[in-house]
């Protein structure tokens, strides 16, 4: 593994730590965003070296070990767009949950949702 990939994995687990210790929904969503970004950095860090050239235009005439791999880049562009879509859905669910319960704390939201479900009639 390259240095960049090691740092990306450390970042991934840092965000994982934030995710399992967070008591707030907003913080959980932010940690998910960081996790996604660090996975992207991990894949782009394949075969990384100092002063690597993009696979575009004139730099394609250089030898192959000086050019970045285009395949992970093409896949990661789509991953970034999907990441924003996931974040948007997360935020709209957060808006409803906060509208129903008036809080962004996981414990309070859980307790209030439980009370609300218990008070509903299923007949």
């Amino acid at each position: 593994m390259t240095f960049a990939q090691t740092v990306a994995i450390l970042m991934f687990f840092l965000a994982f730590f934030g995710l399992i210790t967070s008591r707030n929904i907003v913080k959980s969503i932010v940690c998910l965003v960081i996790k996604e970004t660090s996975a992207i950095v991990f894949f782009l860090g394949l075969r990384f070296r100092e002063g690597i050239l993009p696979p575009i235009g004139e730099s394609l005439s250089q030898p192959l070990e000086y050019i970045a791999d285009p395949l992970p880049q093409a896949l990661m562009i789509t991953a970034i767009i999907i990441g924003l879509a996931v974040t948007a859905v997360d935020i709209i669910m957060l808006i409803y949950l906060t509208h129903e319960t008036g809080s962004t704390d996981w414990d309070e939201v859980k307790a209030k949702t439980k009370a609300r479900v218990a008070s509903l009639d299923y007949e």
Binding site: V26, K27, I56, L60, A68, Q73, A74
Partner: protein
């Protein structure tokens, strides 16, 4: 240089995890995304850097809309209980150690990279290998990614409509300060030109449909920020986005999956290949721009709340 940047990158995420004020956390997230896009630039991936830089605008702005318009969460504090951090920290360190113990040590193969870089100019066209991959060799990914974006846009628009499909007339405008409005005023006319440049030159230089589309959508966000105009017909936008998606699929099926370009690709002059790439990039750019404009306009007028 790159190692310093990577250390800076990991340090920029630490304040996010230990920040107690929500609004500050979102602003730190914006700074983190900026540093991430610089990291992508160092990695030799200017396309991904452009995508990340333009996307991070939107994720920050969605959070800020959520807090500014609907709930007054600016003063909400996240309670941090330090004594509850010990067990999760041990668990995380255990998982990380497990990962590094079993991490693959072999160097990655260069077979596919050689194949793509040596052949893409003849087989797909253009001089940007990344565009050639996502519009030629891996078109399925692009089509399904566009489908995912369409599904998200439809889901969000239908979650936010209550009964009648109209926009609210009495919604709170986001107030921005005079200085910020002046700066946005300077940036706004540049954005559509930059977006169209990114889309039309995407096959020759860094850029492409996704990045240009997001920049075009950012133009409408800036327009709303300065003048508080809320006049776009969202229903029409959604219908138009579906139409453009179906034309992308039709173009992909007829031109690529049926194998027609293989007859023209080898001997055709480069202009014919460029026509396909530019058309596809323009369709994708329009679709992404419509999708994000629709997401933004649905976010500022949620009727169920």
């Amino acid at each position: 240089m790159s190692q310093t940047l990577m250390v800076l990158w990991i340090l920029s995420a630490v304040p996010i995890l230990f920040e107690q004020k929500i609004m500050k956390m979102i602003l730190y997230l914006g700074a983190y995304s900026l540093i991430t896009s610089i990291v992508f630039l160092i990695f030799g991936a200017p396309d991904v850097a452009l995508a990340e830089a333009s996307i991070s605008i939107f994720s920050t702005i969605f959070f800020i809309i959520c807090f500014e318009k609907y709930y007054d969460l600016k003063d909400t504090y996240i309670k941090i209980k330090w004594h509850k951090f010990i067990l999760p920290a041990c668990f995380t360190i255990f998982l990380a150690a497990l990962f590094f113990w079993f991490a693959p040590t072999a160097t990655p193969s260069t077979y596919s990279m050689e194949l793509y870089i040596n052949n893409f100019m003849n087989e797909v066209g253009g001089t940007n290998a990344v565009t050639a991959i996502y519009l030629g060799y891996r078109l399925y990914d692009t089509v399904f990614e566009a489908l995912m974006l369409l599904i998200t846009a439809i889901a969000i628009s239908h979650l936010s409509w209550h009964k009648e499909k109209t926009t609210l007339e009495k919604h709170r405008y986001i107030k921005i300060s005079k200085q910020a409005a002046d700066i946005v005023n300077i940036i706004t006319p540049i954005l559509p030109i930059f977006g169209i440049y990114l889309i039309t030159y995407g096959h020759l230089s860094p850029g492409g449909g996704f990045q240009g589309g997001v920049v075009l959508a950012a133009f409408f966000v800036c327009r709303y920020m300065i003048r508080s105009i809320n006049d776009l017909p969202v229903v029409l936008l959604e219908r138009f986005e579906k139409l453009i998606f179906s034309s992308i699929v039709l173009l992909a099926v007829f031109l690529v999956f049926l194998g027609i370009p293989e007859y023209i690709a080898m001997d055709a002059p480069p202009i014919f290949k460029s026509v396909y790439l530019v058309t596809m990039n323009m369709l994708i750019g329009l679709k992404v721009a419509l999708g994000f404009v629709m997401l933004f306009y649905r976010f500022i007028t949620i009727e169920r709340v």
